[in-house]
């Protein structure tokens, strides 16, 4: 119950925020944080709970974004249909990658996701008729709900918030469900999971497909917000790494981890970029690297788990130690 009260409280607080905050830059940071928290949530399903390290989530993100952008700009179809098409393609693609890889053990899934994201990036670069190549696609600014384009940042703020809340709720629910237990069992030990009647390849595949669907939705939000898309922006390895990084730093395999990770890293990255200016482009990535190293060394389970352990009273810890 307490958890519910807190979640609703924070949600209410965030909902009220745009009434007070009018600085566009701050709203922008919040919107990005919501977007990346949702994206990290999608990564958490396959990378956190199921323990299958994907370093190609940019592919699903980008497929969603490009499907929507190409659909509306080249074929004049509604972004909502573009969203549906993007999600379907992303799910099919993730199934195609996962089906052979999840039968194997070892780094195959990780390698395949990296390779696939690269292939998609190169394809969009060279398939100029459809994607405009490196020039990118500019989406004409025609505000309206039907176009999923809004003037001002506030509508994006609320859509982003809803996206984050929903995907976080999904993770929360998964964590307590049979599906989530099975994913974690597969992560902890595949042989033992099989011996418990868990068809590990199948459950990994389900997780990968759901994850890809959410990532594609995030991609659509990205392109409708930025109104511009180019291969480097969405398919870059950095995008994939960010999703993994935020989740791991926040706490992989915990429902709150990705949100905490995003809330920490996105504002930090944006402010750093602002302060350092153009003189030190990419320095914020170096900073990310340092944060990751520190987290892995000091709190390998991520922020959420560490804080939880700290909050445990001394008494219960003592009991646990005595049992050992």
């Amino acid at each position: 119950m307490k958890r519910w009260v807190w979640s609703l409280f924070i949600l209410a607080l965030l909902s009220a925020l745009p009434l007070v905050v009018e600085t566009q830059f701050y709203l922008h940071i919040f919107i990005l944080t919501f977007l990346y928290a949702s994206f990290a949530n999608s990564w958490n399903l396959i990378g956190g709970y199921a323990g299958q390290l994907s370093l190609g989530h940019a592919a699903f993100f980008g497929i969603g974004a490009y499907a929507c952008a190409i659909g509306s700009v080249k074929f004049g179809i509604s972004p909502f249909i573009g969203l549906a098409i993007g999600v379907i393609i992303a799910v099919l693609v993730s199934a195609a990658i996962g089906y052979p890889c999840f039968r194997l053990r070892g780094p195959f899934y990780t390698l395949s996701t990296i390779a696939f994201a690269e292939v998609v990036r190169l394809l969009t670069l060279y398939w100029r008729d459809l994607t405009e190549g490196a020039v990118g696609i500019l989406i004409p600014f025609k505000p309206g709900v039907a176009n999923l384009i809004f003037s001002g940042k506030v509508p994006y703020y609320y859509i982003g918030l809803a996206m984050m809340a929903l995907s976080t709720f999904l993770c929360y629910h998964v964590e307590r469900s049979r599906f989530g237990y099975y994913l974690v069992a597969v992560r902890e030990d595949e042989d033992a999971a099989e011996a418990c009647g868990i068809r590990s390849a199948r459950y990994k595949l389900y997780a990968a497909m759901i994850s890809a669907a959410i990532a594609a939705v995030c991609g659509v939000f990205y392109v409708q917000y930025m109104l511009f898309i180019d291969p480097e922006g969405v398919f870059n390895l950095n995008v994939s790494i960010q999703a993994a990084l935020m989740t791991i730093i926040g706490g992989a395999g915990t429902w709150l981890g990705p949100v905490v990770g995003a809330a920490l890293l996105i504002p930090l990255g944006e402010f750093l970029r602002g302060w350092l200016g153009g003189a030190a482009r990419g320095l914020h990535m170096a900073f990310y690297g340092i944060v990751l190293i520190v987290v892995v060394m000091v709190i390998p389970q991520g922020i959420v788990v560490t804080v939880k352990n700290l909050l445990k009273t001394k008494a219960t810890r003592k009991v646990e130690e005595e049992r050992r």
Partner: protein, 245 residues
Amino acid sequence: MRRNVLEVKDLTRRFGGLVAVDGVSFQIAEGELMGLIGPNGAGKTTIFNLISGHLLPTSGSIRFLDMDITHLKPPAARCLAGIGRTFQIVKPFGGLTVWDNVTIGALARHPDMGEARERARQMLEFVGLWGYKEVAARSLTLPGRKRLEMARAMATEPKLLLLDEVMAGLTPTEISEVLPMIRRFAEEFNVAIIVVEHVMAAVMRLCEWIVVIHHGKKISEGTPKEVTKDPKVIEAYLGEEAFIA
């Protein structure tokens, strides 16, 4: 007449040039306790892996409850059919609590989370681990982990349970606690249990029937008394010891 749960016929498994299991046949009825013994490297765990589906046989057949499961894949399908197992090198879900570990086993039969947790609670009480329910599995001691594996396997409600060296590394006191537990499980749930074990005294006390494996072949079979008097068995064990010495 008790119904046969498992019939293994001419089971053979090669690893390249090595024949790890060579034409082994045996059967076990419901509620029966069978011991599978033999010197190190005889192929006992390989037989378990073949029955549980973690390995597939080169030739031979395995029938389980009138079903041909020789090539049934993946191992999960065999668990759902009713074969539970533990691992010689224990494989707990280390990061999860003891209760969660057993709940995952119980979910195989009880998709509802509440029911599964209740079932898991019963199994933890059965093996005497209920007091440790919130402890992370990896922080249990070795005997604790072995019990946890048993509880988890039992929670899948098997008709056939494969126990791979659940008594290795236990003190005599701990063994005398585990023995009645295994026996009770066979009786109360009418489960056929095969134990692979190096602690001979325990096997002899526990099992009604014993199959002896040496170099992948079955060299003897019978009641504990018959087997211990079999010259081939004595030779297999003494021969090995002489070799070690």
